[in-house]
């Protein structure tokens, strides 16, 4: 046995989750472009070594054909497999929407529960690295609007591992979103056997004055802002959804019921984003308790620009989160 790691990156967390899932369950198979060892174990090396360990039959490098990749995952899932399909970057998921939305999400319902589609689609995105307009979009809001799918993303490596394992073990189709800019960011590893239950948010920092609600990369920003504001005596609670849809309304509403104020943050474009649903739900259910309107922070209403100065301006920032908190505190 190797000595346990002191820190792991997000990338290592994803790798560990798939490794454990494959070791535990023969029905777990991986499909995606370049994912087998002969092809380098994935563009981010997230699957490196897995084909050596579990065989090329279970870890399959595919043609560049996202409809075929997702379709193959769906078909195998219908008869008992638990495929993990990798869509190299989230923008490429646009070519596989039919398979995901019209099929993966609906087959359980349309078959009256006779079949189910326990697939996990891993994909990655996020702006800030100069990848430009077609390689940086966060599209989780689309999938959240599709009944029959679960959408998850993690804000730290430990959760990343526990959440991906939960997705693979879940009986529903899951979209698991990874983040490009933080792929090599590290954090403490989870305990062995750790799982993040789907549909459960986590309070990552307790606070009294205001709730910041988000998921994925902005959680670290929210925690940084919370730390800074604590020095001024402002007590910020940070709620990490982890499962974006269906989301944990109970934890969110409990937090805001306590603080009376909320800011929602995500890196996707603000308009018609996930934040709108969360904000609406909070207003609907806690209208009388709210001391101020819920604020939303997101990125600009524009394609992701290439030029570094524009990209920085486009993306949500800690300054935006801080400004929204201060404004909401009044």
């Amino acid at each position: 046995m190797n000595a346990p790691l002191k820190k792991i990156t997000f990338g290592q967390a994803f790798h560990m989750a798939m490794d454990e899932a494959m070791a535990a369950d023969e029905r777990v198979i991986l499909l995606g472009e370049d994912i087998a060892d002969g092809q380098g174990g994935g563009v981010y090396k997230t699957t490196l070594g897995l084909s050596a360990k579990y065989g090329d039959a279970r870890v399959r490098s595919t043609p560049i054909a996202e409809q075929a990749i997702v379709g193959a995952a769906i078909g195998a899932a219908l008869v008992g497999y638990r495929p993990v399909a990798e869509i190299m970057l989230m923008n490429f998921i646009t070519v596989a929407m039919d398979q995901i939305v019209n099929h993966a999400a609906k087959l359980r319902f349309m078959s009256g529960g006779q079949t189910s589609v326990p697939i996990t689609i891993r994909t990655i995105s996020g702006a800030g690295r100069g990848f430009g307009g077609q390689h940086s979009d966060m599209l989780e809001a689309w999938f959240a609007h599709v009944p029959g799918l679960k959408i998850a993303t993690a804000s730290n490596p430990a959760d990343a591992k526990g959440l991906l394992l939960s997705c693979i073990e879940d009986d529903n189709p899951c979209i698991f979103i990874e983040n490009t800019p933080t792929y090599r960011t590290s954090g403490p590893p989870p305990e062995p056997g750790y799982r993040v239950p789907l549909g459960k948010a986590a309070v990552q920092r307790e606070g009294r004055d205001i709730s910041v609600i988000g998921y994925g990369r902005p959680i670290a920003d929210a925690l940084a802002v919370a730390g800074k504001l604590a020095e001024e005596g402002i007590s910020v609670e940070v709620v990490d959804l982890r499962t974006i849809a269906p989301f944990d309304a109970e934890t969110v509403l409990n937090s805001v019921a306590k603080t009376g104020r909320a800011v929602i943050v995500h890196e996707a474009v603000k308009e018609f984003g996930v934040g709108a649903e969360i904000s609406s739900r909070i207003h609907e259910e806690l209208f009388r308790d709210l001391k101020a309107p819920v604020a939303r922070v997101g990125s600009r209403y524009a394609p992701v620009p290439f030029s570094p100065v524009l990209e920085k301006d486009w993306l949500y920032s800690q300054a935006d989160i801080e400004a929204a908190i201060r404004k909401t505190l009044g």
Binding site: R58, I74, G80, N102, S111, E284
Partner: protein, 332 residues
Amino acid sequence: MTETNVDKDLLLDIYRRAWLIHQADAKFRAMITTGQLQILYYSPRGQEVVAAAMMAALRPDDYLVTIYRGIHDQLAKGIPLKELWAEFAGKATGTCKGKGGPMHITHPETGVMVTTGIVGSGMPIANGLGLASQLNGDGRVTVCCFGDGASNIGAFHEALNMASVWKLPVIFLCQNNLYGEHTPYAMSTGAERIADRSISYGMKGVRVNGNDAAAMHAVAREAVARARAGEGPTLIEAMTFRFNGHLLGDDSHYIPKAEMEAAKAADPVPALRRTLLETQVSEATLAALEAEITAQVAEAAQFALDSPYPDLRENRIDVLDVEMLDNREIAA
């Protein structure tokens, strides 16, 4: 050359399936035109023998993926008639409790895994079933049915290429009825023959007269054998025709009269019946078989009409694996 000798019992089996399709189709159309059923209906009339001869080459545990125009495939594969009918009627006793409807028939017990309404989308999923069989080593074969028009969409290309590269046990059965909705083959398809598209994938491709039971079955049997032996997929282009237009109600105005008349003159179901009579099956045998099936169809139709509608709770289950809250209650 493909071996086209098919024995009498087999032909009779194919006829039994074809007649079942023929009768079910007639009854569906009658019920729709009289208002007993209100559904979009894509008649398979004219394509019976393609399905009957194909499915007669399969084991019961082989898989089928088909499309909106799919009752011929489903019935030939052995789906229970009553549950199928009840599903078309949106009843709780349907294969899918009425939730899927005619375009989304699933019945895993008879291998009917997916019925899709999105042109081309069944092919990638069929690969996944084939992949599972390959991994299991269970020798199962997946048949994926689609039309000529579907061979022009991206999913076809991606799926056939992957199936070939991975040598999946999948049979891509293109039922070429020469029209996609109202658009004729040549207006939409660059290839002279869809079977030739197999070259793009290094796959075996065959064009066959799908209305000729013996020829169709021989091609099917060969493709099944290839798939079971781990030798990979086949693209079959089965030439056929649809007699009732795209959707019931379509008057086929876009089909030259002579073309339609020639097709009807070559109607595959009576043709197969004539062949059987010629090969020493008696009129009495056929009549008895036909009567039995006709009675089963009537019974299934009645079963569907008599069955109850599903409970409204069905809208909150099978969405995910747990029951959903009522979102009206959340709002109100």
